[in-house]
Amino acid sequence: MTKGMVIIGAGECGGRAALALRDLGYDGPVTLIGDEPHLPYERPPLSKEAMASDTPEIKAIASDEILSERSIRHIHSVQAMAIDCAAHVVHLSDGSVLPYDKLLLATGSTPRKLPMPGLGARCVYLRTFNDALAIRAHLSAGNRIAIVGGGFIGLELAAAARRLGATVTVIEAQPRILMRGVPAEIAKIIHEAHEAEGVKILCGDGIAAIADDGAGVRIALAGGKDIVADLAVIGIGAVPVTGLAAEAGLTIDNGIAVDAELRTSDPDIFAAGDCCSFPLAVYGGRRVRLEAWRNAQEHGALAARNMLGAGESHAAVPWFWSDQYGLTLQISGLSDEGSKVVRRDLDDGAFILFHLAEDGRLVAASGIGPGNSVGRDIRLAEMLIAKRAKPAPEALGSQTIKLKSLLAA
């Protein structure tokens, strides 16, 4: 008898996987388990200016009607407590026991906690829609917001907070913002955009102490500065949610370890999205874990195909974007694979940095500009990266040579 497919985690990845199983014609039971009270929804808007709306709304991946039309059972507000691999069942926090033929872990990631005492109710993290609503309630003119961590979540939130007139200070322990994965030349543009909008950015100074003294959150920096805020949002990265997998005895290696087909160390259990580390074929099988929306989508769809026996290996190139004020940043590939950079200037101050490996291979491209000025070229770069192309640096650097023409070469 068919026990069906069970997906733990009803975010972008899990939601896409459930829909993909139906798109592929699977007609057995599909159950999607989520610990939030909401429909599967898109997380990227949570830190962006969409949150500046007076009534932020969930951007659902699938409505109730679509889920029911497609016979996807969505169990919300419930935790998966344990996996019994031998019996092929999942135990849920409501006491029920779900059998599965194949199981997908799409448990995502959770904000890295600031390992300090003294964090009160006004020191918060952002991951869920409810977190975003709670933060939104504090973003008003005159309110002081401290953002701990100059990464994407913090900076996007800083832009949204400025839109609403709050006073914003960003605290980054590293010498500059966006140290991880963003070239300094591009981080500088973003830094300047924030300063022009009135955000105060303090880099290269760690937090010595943090305390809520009733009047506000008081953050003492090691260098002697003192910042007082009405709300502190901590955005210092994310860690994969692996507890359930670890307790079930699955191999963990910077996330739930999966092979190129997203299969864990148990052949009937797959893992996908933020929670897993996987070999990236485009860089010779380098094991990575990506916290990115499109990766979650692609992994969800790939896991669905492989749960149905496709035996297909992951082949995509990482891709990421961020919006801050009128600027959009897009990155394809992993720039740390490169040793040399070629710059291509586009209209309106937009530009792209192409990252080339020692042997001339294009391994990544990072672009920034107003609106969607870099989208098309970053997409073409992604296709060149996937082809493992070695385009001539002069061609990459010249705006008069269309990138599309390099693809045919």
């Binding site: 896409r16 989508q297 891709w319 969607n372 989208g375 098309r376 599309k404």
Partner: protein
């Protein structure tokens, strides 16, 4: 019946490319396919209202520059996450080297 509106010269658009066309407070995207046919759709992606004319045309697909949602520009059919709502299409004809769109 609505009238045909002149959008651009046929030569304004490269093969396998797209151009934005604004008319009457609306925005459209005009396409030239690799086999030299012309098509027109609504100009904004159905996912987050981004101008598709900034996107990439590959064969009969237009890909949104923002989140890579894909549509067939010939039929308007949504072709993959994150888009799920089809794009509206409009009849196109060529007349004396001009691209005309029937805006309904």
């Amino acid at each position: 019946m609505s009238d045909w509106v002149e959008a651009c010269d046929a030569e304004d658009i490269d093969e396998e490319d797209v151009m934005r066309f604004d008319h009457g407070g609306r925005t459209f995207a005009i396409y030239r396919s690799p086999d030299d046919e012309y098509f027109a759709t609504d100009g904004l992606c159905t996912h987050e209202k981004v101008h598709l004319a900034d996107g990439l045309v590959m064969d009969d697909i237009i890909e949104c520059p923002k989140h890579n949602g894909r549509f067939s520009y010939k039929t308007g059919a949504a072709r993959g996450a994150p888009v799920c709502v089809n794009l509206r299409t409009y009849p196109v004809k060529l007349d004396a080297g001009k691209v005309l769109v029937q805006i309904g």
